[in-house]
């Protein structure tokens, strides 16, 4: 009898613990929503970040555009020749891929610093943690905007007509941004506590650039090497954006995998962030 009572009590404790865990996770999603109310703040801060990176330079943020244009001409002519692809095919592939990669890479590398680099604000005022994530997403969207000028020039130059499939960029970008939020919350949180992550990630990303089909084509690998394409999460996010930008519709499988990564990412990140987010102010 008494055993049953204790068992029930244990179950009761488990239930209440579960309930508090669920409410904690709900708080994370509340933060995701509340962050949107602070859009004037993060839009201002994000835009300022773009400007301050090129402070006192005459052409300012257009340096982003220019540097991508250099990559397109130099790497494009060299690697296009090495791989024996026609320029009209290789350069659009390279420019879109490189532009998207720069965006994804920034979301990861700056995502890990989302809280560390805002330490003085975090120790001073209680705004939702998502504000710092949205700030970096916005900043990199603005940079992506500057980079896309090169993309438009390439379309004109090589007469690529991306309509109507280019409209698929909208859902693709939404998926990428949804992933950007969980990546920032998770890596940002871990990096606050274990700063070694901050050293590891840029190294890992440099390697990822070479093993992801950006300079090369996904269909040019065969055999065992296809794991670099098939098991590379970056490939899926690049491809769902790159295909519509070049006027193609991405394969349904690409959408499915990208969505699956989004769901899995949130399922992992939300409880972890929910559990430790209140300690960020102590750790930064």
């Amino acid at each position: 009898m008494s055993r049953i009572v204790t068992l029930r009590a244990k179950n009761g404790i488990k239930e209440t613990k579960l309930r508090t865990d669920v409410s904690k996770v709900l708080e994370v999603f509340r933060e995701v929503r509340d962050g949107w109310r602070w859009r004037e703040l993060w839009m201002t801060l994000g835009w300022r970040d773009v400007q301050t990176r090129h402070r006192r330079s005459r052409i300012g943020p257009f340096w982003n555009t220019l540097s991508l244009a250099f990559v397109a001409t130099c790497i494009g002519t060299l690697y296009g020749g090495i791989m024996g692809r026609p320029m009209s095919d290789y350069i659009p592939h390279l420019v879109t891929g490189y532009m998207i990669w720069a965006f994804l890479q920034a979301l990861v590398i700056e995502g890990k610093d989302a809280f560390v680099s805002n330490a003085s604000a975090i120790r001073e005022i209680a705004v939702p943690g998502t504000v710092y994530i949205y700030k970096l997403l916005w900043k990199n969207l603005v940079i992506l905007g500057f980079n896309s000028l090169v993309y438009v020039a390439v379309l004109v130059l090589f007469q690529v007509w991306p309509f109507p499939n280019i409209l698929l960029v909208v859902p693709a970008l939404a998926i990428v941004l949804l992933n950007g939020i969980w990546v920032g919350l998770l890596l940002g949180l871990i990096n606050v506590r274990y700063r070694d992550l901050g050293q590891l990630i840029p190294n890992a990303m440099r390697l990822a650039f070479f093993v992801t089909p950006i300079l090369w084509y996904p269909d040019s690998v065969s055999g065992l090497r296809t794991i670099f394409v098939d098991f590379n999460p970056f490939y899926y996010f690049i491809e769902i954006l790159r295909a519509p930008l070049l006027g193609q519709a991405p394969d349904p499988l690409l959408w499915i995998v990208a969505l699956a990564i989004t769901v899995i990412g949130w399922v992992i990140a939300a409880p972890i962030y929910a559990h430790w987010r209140r300690r960020i102010a102590f750790w930064v």
């Binding site: 801060l45 604000a121 001073e124 005022i125 209680a126």
Partner: protein
């Protein structure tokens, strides 16, 4: 209705990666600084910055925080600002909070003073439209004049304090938390700040100010809280608490 209530609040900081090689001399009697140091079961150092603190603030209260270095004044302000969740106990804060704890926060040294009104104002929860309406009032209150068009890095710490103070006190807020900031200004600004804080209190808002300057505290506050190693030592009318504090430090000095 502004309202701050702390019930039995304890706050412990875990301190990471600090294996000290220093030979510890068993301390005799009370330490003059810091919170309480203890080791948790896992052997990690823990600083108990606040120890079973209970406190209620009502509209119109202007509370002075007194205590030695590391007594827990800033930590208490951060608990009230909802930055630090307490380890034990409960904190209830009703109303909008504007903290002014760190002068460099929300201020970009390379931007002009005028731009910084917007950055810090947005952080404090104001909208851009609201800030555009108030920017002139804030600029006028800071008395910085043409300096507002110069980058912040050309400002002295007193000038920075003026601007930060001007922004924080022009926010629509119910609770203002200040940490040793007003003291940076000169006499003229102090007088002005004092008037501003008094009108603030008349509108039945709550003000909490930590400072080591008894003169500042006596002029601005009506209540005081004396902290010692994170514990509440005295709470009551400002003059009495300052006297208690003076007596305890005098006692220490003699001993």
């Amino acid at each position: 209705m502004a309202f701050v209530k702390l019930e039995n609040v304890t706050l412990e900081f875990p301190v990471q990666a600090s294996k000290s090689d220093r030979r510890r001399v068993p301390s005799q009697g009370e330490k003059p600084v810091g919170g309480q140091l203890a080791s948790s079961q896992s052997g990690q150092m823990v600083v108990r910055a606040l120890d079973h603190l209970s406190l209620t603030l009502e509209p119109g209260d202007r509370l002075a925080l007194l205590g030695h270095n590391g007594a827990g004044k800033t930590t208490l302000l951060r608990v009230m600002a909802k930055l630090y969740p307490p380890t034990h106990g409960r904190v209830t804060v009703q109303g909008r909070v504007a903290p002014l704890l760190n002068l460099s926060f929300g201020l970009d040294m390379d931007s002009t003073g005028y731009d910084n009104i917007f950055i810090r104002g947005l952080f404090l929860g104001m909208s851009k439209a609201e800030l555009r309406r108030k920017a002139d009032t804030i600029a006028e209150f800071s008395e910085l004049g043409d300096f507002l068009d110069l980058p912040m890095r050309t400002y002295s710490s007193g000038m920075r304090a003026r601007l930060a103070f001007a922004i924080s006190t022009h926010v629509e807020t119910d609770i203002l938390l200040l940490d040793e900031v007003v003291a940076t200004g000169d006499a003229r600004f102090f007088k002005k700040a004092n008037e501003r804080l008094e009108s603030f209190a008349r509108e039945s808002k709550i003000l909490v100010l930590a400072s080591h300057s008894n003169k500042v505290l006596r002029e601005i506050c009506n209540k005081a809280l004396l902290l010692e190693h994170g514990r509440l030592k005295a709470f009551g009318a400002i003059d009495e608490v300052i006297e208690t504090y003076a007596a305890s430090t005098a006692g220490d000095a003699k001993a």
